[in-house]
């Protein structure tokens, strides 16, 4: 797998198709693992999606005392293994993005696994497949680099130049989530 999960928050239209689609993934037990929130509905309709960053050194796996959270050879951080998870919920507190969720009925953690049964066959995860706005994409590493460069390009085309105090507006506000590009 040499693909990037690529989020562009600004594009999100808040339709929550990504959440509905997450439930449709075969291994997902009809439970969604991503979320979409308003930044502040009183101010505007801007929403943003959040899903697992598939961290290189995942906090959830680190804080798991039972070693239940496996990382695949491609670098995908999976849901806790049923037989190992002791239900301590450390992972849900450890993750800075609030991704792992807890199933109280089964006493077990579950999380975004990038639709591993799809992505390992190079088929896009459900959320990225359906997102009408391309706020979530599943793309090649090179395409990601290109997209990042284009944002700066567009600013230049429009004659915008960063000033002291607004530099951050010129940093692409999206970021990639990628597994090892070698494999």
């Amino acid at each position: 797998m040499n693909k990037i999960m690529y989020l562009e928050f600004e594009r999100c239209i808040g339709c929550r198709a990504c959440q509905a689609a997450c439930r449709e993934c075969g291994d997902h037990d009809a439970k969604e693992r991503n979320y979409v929130e308003y930044v502040d509905f009183t101010e505007s309709r801007q929403t943003f999606p959040m899903l697992c960053m598939q961290c290189k050194d995942p906090a959830c796996a680190r804080v798991c005392p039972a070693n239940a959270i496996q990382i695949t050879e491609e670098g995908v951080v999976l849901s806790a293994m049923e037989e190992k998870c002791i239900g301590c919920r450390n992972c849900t507190f450890g993750c800075p993005f609030g991704i792992p969720k807890f199933d109280f009925e089964k006493n077990k953690m579950y999380k975004c696994d990038m639709c591993y049964d799809r992505t390992r066959e190079d088929i896009a995860p459900m959320c990225a497949s359906v997102c009408p706005s391309d706020a979530i994409r599943f793309i090649d590493f090179d395409e990601m680099q290109q997209l990042r460069r284009r944002r700066t390009q567009m600013n230049l085309v429009e004659g915008k130049k960063p000033q002291e105090g607004n530099k951050w507006d010129y940093v692409p506000e999206f970021f990639g989530v990628y597994t090892d590009s070698q494999s």
Binding site: I13, C15, E24, R45, R118, E121, P132, V157
Partner: protein, 709 residues
Amino acid sequence: MSQFLVKEGVKNQIRQGEKLVTTHCCYCGMQCGMHIRVDEKSNKVVGVEPRYDWVLTKGKMCPKGVTAYQTIDHPDRIKLPLIKKNGKFVESSWEEALDLIERKFKELQEKYGKDTLGVYGGVSMTNEKCYLVGKYARVGLGTRYVDYNGRYCMSSAAGGFNKTLGMDRGSTLPWTELEHSDCFFMSGTNTAECHPTSIQWFWKAKDKGAKIIVADPRETATARIADVHLDLLPGTDTALANGIMHLLIKHDYVDYEYVQERCNNFAELKEVTAKFTPEYTSKLTGVAVEKIIKAAHIFGKSPRSVVMFARGVEQQVSGVDNVSLYTSMALLRGQIGKFASGVATFTGQGNGQGGREHGQKADALPGYRKINDPKHVEYVSGVWGIKPEEMPKEGVSAYEMFGLMENKTIRGMHVICSNPVVSSPNINYVTKAMEGLDFLVVSDFFLSETAELADVVLPATTWAEDEGTTTNIEGRVIRIRKVVEPIGESKPDWEIIKLISERMEKGKYFDYSEPREIFDELRVASKGGKADYFGVTYEKIDEQDGVFWPAPTEDSKGTPSIFQEKFATEDGKANLAVIDYRGPAEVKSKEFPLWLTTGRVVFHYLSGNQTRRVGFLMEQCPEPFVEMHPELASQYQIENGEKVKLSTPRGHMIVPVKITKAIRKDVMFVPYHWGKHQSVNQLTNPALDPTSRMPEFKVCAVKLEKLSK
């Protein structure tokens, strides 16, 4: 029966023991491509798989599309005919239900004449079915009274396009060209919520530098990212469009060569728009002068632009005028009939395009023919095998039918694929009119609010249990495939129509054994009309990713872009709209001092009869709400989440408040997907556009009250 269709090199996930069937979503006009997953052993629908290679939508779906399959094998499905006995529905056999319908229909017609029966159709079904509804009313039942829910949806767009361009195809260009446009002028369309998968095309264009102008009283998701957001007062579109055209003329953005060669009425238009200075326009619309000027310059400078609109401008008493004026903006810029430019409306219902073309409308016959044109009647009568004098006369529009029920002109009714006691304006009146019917038959697959009032409910199938075609938002005819056999004893609408027609001794006109035969008849019935389907075949649809009508000959490949050389008017020229400002039918008063507008949310479709039964969608949006600006809320001392009372002279409702700055201070918004006491259509104004007879859902004066503790 079923097929899985993908282009070379496209990978889909096909799980063991499952097969995929290629089709399209059942909801909005985008008609997103999708594959439906079927378990091979049990033959049950188990889920959805993206259709990555469908040209228009590329696998993308909104949450309604993703969950659409859940309505197929839903526990609420009606599986047997229901007959009301002593106020309660009792399951019955088809035989018994048809016996009763035959007896009642015949009794009523013998006593009160043929026209005592009415047919109320819908366009969330295939072309085959929509076509048959018109024929069923005129030939099967022999009544003049037939109309359909598209009257509330697309009729003003149709009226406006016919006036200006001479033909009503929702989009003059294929939407795959949109990414090459330089500017979108979008008015009264909350496309991010109502047609979510269209957004990908706007982003593609925006990524290349396209500009977006949005006119809407609310700061919708598209308005938020627009270069200019024209936050106009509801019902003031005539002023806004005239104001923009004033500036196009003033700043010399008019394509004079195009206008001279291809348009009528320029001098008159210039005269009427003369007074619409930015200041005057601003006074009427409530939009800041600078914004109007900025929008006109952006639009005027763009080499390729598309003017787009939807129900926001159409569901008004000046709906047809609004459409004509916005279309004229595109004409002044010389845009219609060219690459990546033109004019388009966002079709609300799945088959809102095809469903309005083939004679479901009170005054229409297949192929956009007219029932009051003797030549047209003669042609269609020939196809149907009746005598021209047997063809009933023109009927009345959807809302006007309720008046005829009230005065007992219409005493019996068959509602097919629609839920008018939720989707009509002023539903307190509409519900009473329907309750007063002597006999009501409703075909549906869930017990809608309208079906609850019926004497007989006939179990129809969902879109996945039958095959046929629909015509999407672009005017592209596409194929809906049968995924599973009908659930329980439900039957597709065409079969129900056939069965009733047989009982009415008209069986020989409805002798179909599958939808393809109906389509072949439709092809001939529409031949030579404006919406000409003669060259469209199921095979061609598969081969070339759909067929754009008109396709007038057997070997025609269809017409993706229309009006390239001339318009469909008599002289081939477009008629620029010469129309002065006209405000909404209702004005604010001391008693009703605020504006109310209505619309959709992304999680629900139309009257909600389907989407209110889907778990995910109900979790996201279980009930209606009223959106208001914090400044307004503060004046009434209202807090977020608090319940308030809204009233108009027609009715009132109690709803929770959502406070947001993303709406004008003097306007409130309530979505319309719920029935009975939760319905905002208790409040809406049934004032009709004089041409299209479309009600003014989008504007009424309203009173807001804080409830005492």
